[in-house]
Amino acid sequence: MKKDEVPQDKSNLETANFKELCYAVDENGEYTTVNSSGWDPKTIALNKAIEDINERVEDAKKRVLSNQTSPIEYYMELHKMDLAILASYVGLWKWRVKRHFKPRVFNTLSNNILQKYADTFDISLEQLKNITLHEN
């Protein structure tokens, strides 16, 4: 990549007001560094990933509201987590967390365990039990 070929496309980096560093060669073939504001193929890939996550969140929301799954799954998706990550945050086995996805099981959980989830998601117990109280 030549110095003047370093892409300067619009990207999500703008929101945080920074540019990333790229390596490129100058006129004499010497390597130098150039700041880049972003690159479309990368931005597309990133946006696509975000879109997928939003889809998962929406899907989980619907299933919570129709009582097919517990709010824990919704909050997990909202925080871009998967089962393994959530289990390691709350310090429980994966199979236990998965079991807590069942609304029937969720309703019997002790406050002690619920608090672990609430702390992980940085929300109150009320919000954990009722996702409509969470803005988003």
Partner: protein, 332 residues
């Protein structure tokens, strides 16, 4: 207290921390040099590690290993510690800052507040330097950022004790011993040899063979996984290649810069020629990213399009195989 520390922006966090800490201690080590000596370049397909619901592909060595190799090869000693207790982790950090010693920290990205939201995934192998503390605010030099920034003690504790794969567990590290003179020449040769070995390894998911393996997977994905998943997986390959911190082209440009710098240090003009070749390969990686992004942009992609990008990867694999064989000879 604030330690006199000069922040240099880098492409990749781990190299950047090495380079910035070395410069702080008076050794002029550039980012590419740190990357090359630490044998950072790689290609690996990790099917059992699911990142964001897609298998992981990596273009560089495992987190932490670049610094480890770098230290061993140039003869510096690093002290590393991990903690169970956040209190203790904080105590050790404060002690070091009091002694005017800037330290490297491994952190998780998800709660890193100064990152753009879109980049905040559960990725736990980010690195940064803490160079001071004012009241409850830590002064942070994050190598991928243009300027220095800050985090309060709660925010810092959160990222230091992020959970999931590669959980940092408060990982803190800093150099404690330097030799009288860094033996760069030997270190460079060792670094290059190791990279050649990795890239030419007879393991199906590693190096050149790994790239070919990935090409075969791409051909199969649309039929086996459906278009939606195939596109998601393909996006993953591109994101890993062009994430913040790769310097573009899946680290190939940084490696090319390393070869160029090394050619003068160890006085081998051949490396300078090879650097040009690596730059060209980096460009091919970028072309691949452009074409791959076209596929997942238009959801209704033809199967032909997958075959096309797979062929591109195979061309890259062939070129890299020739390249690393040449490099291996050149360094002998």
């Amino acid at each position: 207290m604030k330690i006199e520390f000069t922040h240099h922006q880098s492409a990749h966090c781990e190299n950047g921390v090495i380079s910035n800490l070395m410069k702080h201690h008076g050794y002029n080590i550039s980012e590419p040099l740190a990357f090359g000596i630490g044998s950072g370049l790689l290609f690996c397909y990790i099917p059992f590690l699911m990142v964001n619901h897609a298998p992981a592909f990596t273009y560089r060595a495992l987190p932490g290993i670049i610094f480890k190799r770098f230290a061993k090869r140039v003869g510096i000693k690093i002290k590393r510690e991990k903690f169970k207790n956040p209190q203790q982790a904080k105590l050790r950090l404060d002690e070091n800052l009091k002694n005017s010693n800037p330290v490297g920290l491994q952190v998780g990205v998800y709660n890193l507040v100064y990152f753009p939201d879109e980049y905040r995934f559960h990725f736990n192998a980010h690195n940064l330097v803490v160079y001071g503390k004012e009241d409850d605010t830590y002064l942070i030099s994050d190598p991928v950022m243009e300027t220095v920034t800050t985090l309060n003690d709660k925010q810092l504790e959160k990222v230091r004790f992020a959970k999931g794969a590669f959980a940092p567990k408060g990982h803190i590290y800093y150099p404690v011993h330097f030799p009288k003179e860094l033996d760069l020449e030997k270190a460079i040769v060792k670094g290059i040899k190791h990279t050649c070995k990795d890239m030419l390894a007879p393991i199906p998911v590693l190096g050149v063979k790994g790239i070919r393996h990935t090409a075969r997977l791409i051909r199969k994905w649309p039929k086996k996984k459906g278009i939606k998943k195939a596109n998601h997986y393909l996006g993953q390959i591109v994101r890993m290649q062009e994430e913040i911190g790769t310097g573009g082209g899946g680290f190939r440009y940084i490696f090319a810069a390393f070869l160029q710098e090394s050619s003068t240090i160890i006085n081998k003009p051949a490396l300078s020629e090879l650097s040009k070749e690596m730059t060209a390969i980096g460009d091919l990686w970028r072309d691949f990213a452009v074409d791959a992004s076209r596929i997942y942009k238009n959801r209704s992609a033809k199967e032909d399009a997958y075959n096309n990008v797979a062929t591109q990867l195979e061309v890259i694999a062939d070129k890299e195989e020739v390249f690393f064989k040449k490099l291996k000879k050149a360094i002998k």
